[in-house]
């Protein structure tokens, strides 16, 4: 905490008091993020358009994993997210939102899957047993 305060004080010393509240961006940070983002974008498109994997389940798992990694890359290098921004409140809000998003997504899909399986047998194809 004290280290954070002195860092702010140093920034204000030579730059008057205007920019001390804004995050500092660097060229190397943006370029690192951009190169990683391009690679992580090209990879899933290549996997799908080139039909690299024969089983679609493997393909889906791979591109979802790559997408999650790319979101983390964007968060760190473009949105400058780490535990120190705003004294950690931004990260806390982000984690809270991720929890809510996970509940909304997994809950919706889980509930609707069970509705389809258990309540509308006449409208569905014969039950397929999961392997």
């Amino acid at each position: 905490m004290s280290a954070h305060d002195t860092a702010l004080g140093d920034a204000g010393a030579h730059d008057h008091d205007e920019d001390e509240e804004l995050p500092h961006s660097t060229f190397s940070g943006y370029m690192t993020g951009f190169v990683l983002a391009v690679a992580l974008t090209a990879l899933p498109f290549w996997i799908v358009m080139g039909s690299v994997f024969h089983r679609s389940g493997v393909t889906a798992a791979a591109i979802l994993l790559i997408g999650a990694v790319q979101i983390v890359v964007h968060m760190i290098y473009f949105l400058h997210m780490d535990g120190k921004v705003q004294g950690g409140w931004s990260l806390l809000a982000l984690i809270f939102t991720i929890v809510l998003v996970a509940i909304a997504l997994s809950g919706s899909i889980w509930v609707m899957y069970h509705l389809n399986e258990n309540m509308m047998p006449g409208m569905m194809q014969p039950m397929h047993n999961p392997p």
Binding site: Y30, F34, T41, V48, M49, G67, H74, L94, S108
Partner: protein, 228 residues
């Protein structure tokens, strides 16, 4: 910590009264350790950015609900066209490249803002806005093609949820472009003052956040949509 020195100044009735008696305690300078209650800010100094981040998180929940709707309805074709039939991945790859490029050009604009070069900043903002406009153009072309082929949002639950999700993202990008034009006008008129710099940082968060959402869209909707 304050309890050890609290008995010295009689006017302070208790440690709890400290933060709200800022003006009236100029005579209480002797109580040195109590100053921590007023000298250091007890909240984050950049409240605007935190508030804008909270807005983005609420926006994230909007998109989460649209993603959940697409996850539930995305394979309900109603005998209509499937994702593998209507999605053109080369077009999506072009779109993704445009948005990714606009992200790095906005980053360059932020770097110029730090160097206090308004003209270069305006140039990069213009490039960012044009890339965003090209993104919207490609997306509208795709939507028009789908509707022309009879695959509009009324055709099936899959297409309804698809148009709702991708259309909402496109609407956000459109608002971002309007905001970019606004900021270009502001910077051109008033220069890089503190308020404009704060707004540009907020816009940067907004723009990069849209790119993050687009990662979810092209992964979850387009790439997984064409899988058998």
């Amino acid at each position: 910590m304050s309890d050890t020195t609290a008995p010295n100044p009689p006017p302070l009735t208790g440690p709890g009264a400290g933060p709200f008696s800022g003006d009236g305690r100029s005579n209480g300078q002797a109580a040195g350790p109590l100053q921590f209650l007023v000298r250091t800010a007890h909240h984050s100094p950049n409240g605007t950015l935190l508030g804008f981040w909270l807005y983005l998180m609420s926006d994230c929940l909007v998109f989460a609900c649209l993603f959940a709707a697409y996850g539930v309805l995305g394979r309900r074709y109603a005998d209509g066209p499937t994702g593998a039939e209507v999605f053109e991945l080369p077009l999506v790859a072009l779109n993704t490249s445009l948005l990714l490029l606009s992200s790095i050009t906005y980053g360059f604009a932020m770097l110029e803002m730090q160097k206090r070069r308004p003209r270069a900043l305006l140039g990069w903002l213009a490039v960012t806005g044009l890339l965003g406009a090209a993104f919207i153009g490609v997306e509208l072309h795709e939507f028009a093609g789908l509707i022309h082929d009879g695959a509009g949002p009324w055709r099936s639950a899959f297409l309804s949820s698809f148009f709702a999700l991708v259309g909402t993202h496109g609407l956000h990008v459109t608002c971002g472009i309007i905001w970019i034009i606004t900021m270009m006008t502001q910077v051109g008129k008033y220069g890089l003052n503190a308020a404009n710099r704060r707004r540009l940082v907020c816009l940067s968060m907004f723009w990069h956040f849209l790119d993050v959402v687009w990662i979810g869209v092209f992964t979850f909707v387009y790439l997984m949509g064409v899988l058998p």
